[in-house]
Subunit: 130 residues, 2 copies
């Protein structure tokens, strides 16, 4: 795994800077309003962080202890995070986004255009804590 | 990165087998109808596969040459694939799913419960090739 970019955050703006070798991979992003950003929870990259298999969702102990695959916890065996982001502006090498569930300095692993799927809504159900 | 499971496919069924150490992380998945499965395009894990930065979407040369971040191409700098799957049955360590864009034997990196986001539909736009 090689970071392809880095997340930056200020009070005013959130953006991704794409590393020079990967900038050609941005061509065509202008067609999409939304992207999935995959990143690495680098602050949890230690044995303890990766060994956590159950958490209380949303860090609320009133929520049942739940396997991390059934949550979006930043503690998981492979520390991949994912947020669906709205593209606010595309100014290569910068992708300005609305918000992201990651801290300033987080390494970006991949960006995938967001294509909605009708399959997402077939017989959808969710647990009570959601 | 450590595989947490493996994708299996037969004519009759598609499923994920979760490796023994990670099975506790499945608890709670029964509440969700859909999951995002993150996997590794292991067949493309060579320098040539990872150096491809532009493709014709859907392998159709009538579609414009497009940066891989603006596609779901299995050729990309980090070979992470992602499919939104419907959970057909949960029979630990097996998760039976409807279908997935990966071949039999593909290593699974992560599973994330699917929680729909209203943000996905704010001012949505997509390029013509979609």
């Amino acid at each position: 795994m090689t970071p392809v970019g880095t997340i930056h955050k200020t009070d005013a703006q959130t953006w991704i800077d794409i590393e020079a070798p990967y900038r050609p991979a941005m061509d065509g992003l202008e067609g999409f309003s939304h992207i999935h950003v995959l990143f690495w929870f680098h602050e949890n990259d230690h044995a303890e962080g990766r060994q956590v298999l159950k958490v209380h969702p949303r860090k609320d102990t009133r929520n049942p202890l739940t396997g991390v695959f059934a949550t979006h916890s930043p503690l998981r065996p492979n520390l991949i995070g994912m947020t669906l982001c709205r593209v606010v502006a595309l100014d290569p090498p910068r992708i300005v986004i609305d918000r992201i569930d990651a801290v300033d300095g987080t390494p970006v692993l991949d960006i995938k255009c967001y294509i909605p799927s009708s399959r997402a809504f077939e017989n959808l159900h969710l647990p009570d804590w959601v």
